[in-house]
Structures are given as C-alpha cells and as structure tokens.
Amino acid sequence: MDELQFRRQAYGEPNSQDAEFLQALQDNPDREVFLKELKQLDGKLDQALKVEIPDGMADKLLLRQQLQHHQQQKRKTGFMMAMVASVAFVVGISFSLLRIAPVDLGEHALAHVHHETVALVVDQHVGVQQINAELAAFKTLGGAKFSAQPGKVYYLSYCDFQGVQSLHLVMQGAENKVTAFLVPQEDRMLLEANFADKEYQGMGFQRGGSYILLVGERQADLDYVKAEITQTFI
C-alpha cells in the first residue's frame, strides 16, 4: 500500500480493520502518528456531533405513537361498522331486486301445491260471493269477478306468489280436486301453457286480465276446470 493509498484509506475510515491497512500502518512509524491525529479528529467530531437531545424525546415519541395507534383502532372499529352496515344494505337491496327477477309461475304453482297439502283436504263450501269479495280486494285485478259459481269450491285463501298477492282456490274437477291460482298480470312473470312434475299436471292461461294456473293430477280435471273458469270468470 503506497502512501497516498494509505492516507486516503485513513481519511476515509480511520478505524478500518482491513488487514492490508493494518499492515501498511506497521510499515512506517510515521503513519501511526498520522493515524492517531485522525482518530483524535474523529473523537472531536464524535463529541461535536452529540448535540443535546430534546428533553423526554423517547417518551414523546412513544406517546405520539400510542395516541395514533389508539386513533387508528377507533377508526378501524368505525370502518368495521361501516362495512357491516353496507353489507346489510347490499343484502337488503339484493333481496328486493330478487323480487323483480322473472318469476316462473308454473314452478311456483307446483311448489305451492306440494307445500300446502291441507288445502286439498279441507272443505270450506266456498260460495261465489265469497270469492268475489276476495277478488274485489285485489286492486291489481281490475275488478275481475266470477259471474256464477264455478262448480264446487273447497278452499279459498290468499297466497304469496313471489311477492305478488294471489288467490288460491281448490275446485272440483271432472273426478279429482284441482288447485287454481289467480295471479294479477305482471311483466316479470313467465307463464307456461303446460307444466308438470312427477305427481301433478299443470296448465296456465290468461283470462280477465289475470293469469290463471291450474294444478291437478290429471289433464282431464284441468280441462274441466278450465272450461268452468272460462265460462264464469270475467
């Protein structure tokens, strides 16, 4: 290591533990004096750099952090609340949107019949006035009514068809009972002329501003009731 290189190294890093540097130091006693001077300078610099630290700085730093941390946690809880609220909101919205989605009437009619087995057992001896009174309550049906008793009616009640109020009737078919649903017309509804599952046959048609769905065990019963209704329902 030549003199220049040594000096550069000494100025750059007086405390260097580099083997070559230490060797160079021993080569020449003058270098040791030179390095000692530099180390003295570093000592002075060290002292000079030690400016006074503001009182209680560490505590102040910790306090700031704790306060901010606390704030953040509060904000986080607020954020959680907002999230929960908006999730609830979205769920609410999507439920009401679901009601606007197309409704397959046939499928629902079948499901309803399967669900409400009681309706096929009871006999309430329903008269035409009673039916018409119920129909009058339907503003959406536009004043449709039966002009005469549509055969024997066993059962009469309101029911909910995907958010649409409709009338649930059980009538006497050619042989067996037939369930009839009177549903006010709406754009979102899909009406199939024929539908069926393992147990029941179904048919749908329009009459007097409403959809009429019939569900029964045999086609003959359906045709029979359809004829009854088309004659009497206006």
Partner: protein, 187 residues
C-alpha cells in the same frame, strides 16, 4: 353484537402479538431515538425540524414494524425512512436551512473553555459541509456504518463514498489546524 365481535377478535394470541410489537417498538425508540435525532439534526440543521422528522420517522416505523425482521438492520432501516422523510420536507416546501443552521449553532454553546471553542468551530464547520460530504460522514460517525453499508444506503458506489469521506475529514482537519495556528498567532 359488535362488542362480542370485538372480543372475539382480541383473543390472547392477538393481544400478546400486540404487546410484543409494542415492546419491540419501545426498545427501538429508546435505543435509537438519540442517533436518529442527531442524524436528523445534522441533516437539516434545525432542532425543531429535526424533532418533527424524528417523530415522523418513528411513526412510520410503527406502521411498518412488522416488515422489520432483522433487528440489526433497524438503524439502517430507520435512517432510510428518515432520509425519505427529509426529502419529503423539501418536496413540500423549499426552506433555506443553510442560513438557519449557522446562526442557530452559535446559540447552542456558551463557549468559554478552549475545548468548547474548538467544538463550536467544528459544529459550525460540519454544518457548512456540503450535504454530499456531510451525509457519509454522519452515517459513519453517528450510524457506525462501514463504507460498504454507506454506499448501499446512499445508493452510491463505495469508491465515491470513500472519496467523500476523505474530503469531509480533510476539510474539517484543515479548519481545525488553521484555527490553532490562528489561535497561536493571536496568543
């Protein structure tokens, strides 16, 4: 309902995680705040600004404490944050601190003994050093980093760092020598 949710979240492991994070942060602050403050001070030359930068640095450190895996690297990490914070200050507003620092430094000391005079002079001179010479020197003396580490921190190559350290010491040494010569001639 929300209370139970909150309780569920703060189960024992989370709490102990939080506690150990807090403890780590406590020790980090206590061990490093002096060096960080001094580094900030010599970087910007103003005690109040240095205090602000130190605050910001440690707040940022808290937010990303989890990313600090190696405790040894803590100082380098803090200094990186500090330098970014200092640079941000200049983005926000361009103050001329080079004027402030020399005026300000005069008040720091009541220079009575010869040693104090010398120290005072040195402080002035360190403050006057160009930032590119000053910073490697600060990293070496306050940070205790090697030439290689300084090169990494400042994104320079090692030779440049060594040259700058050489010039920094050279300038400071000359000033001290001049002052003693002057002192002798005066006395």
């Amino acid at each position: 309902m929300f209370d139970s949710f909150r309780k569920k979240k703060s189960d024992p492991t989370v709490i102990s995680d939080m506690l150990s994070k807090q403890r780590r942060y406590d020790s980090l602050v206590r061990a490093m705040h002096g060096d960080i403050f001094r580094y900030a001070y010599w970087l910007c030359g103003d005690r109040h600004v240095a205090e602000d930068i130190t605050q910001e640095t440690f707040l940022r450190a808290w937010r990303s404490l989890d990313s600090l895996k190696d405790e040894k690297a803590a100082k380098a990490w803090l200094i990186t944050i500090l330098r970014r914070e200092n640079a941000r200050r200049f983005e926000r507003k361009q103050f001329d601190y080079s004027d402030v620092e020399q005026e300000q430094l005069v008040d720091v000391l009541s220079s009575s003994t010869e040693e104090n005079v010398e120290q005072h002079l040195l402080r002035r001179q360190i403050g006057k050093l160009d930032i590119e010479y000053r910073e490697p020197l600060l990293l070496q003396l306050i940070g205790g980093f090697s030439g290689e580490e300084i090169a990494q921190l400042l994104d320079l190559n090692r030779n440049t760092v060594m040259t700058r350290l050489f010039r920094a010491r050279n300038q400071l040494k000359e000033v001290l020598e001049k002052s003693t010569v002057r002192g002798q001639s005066n006395g």
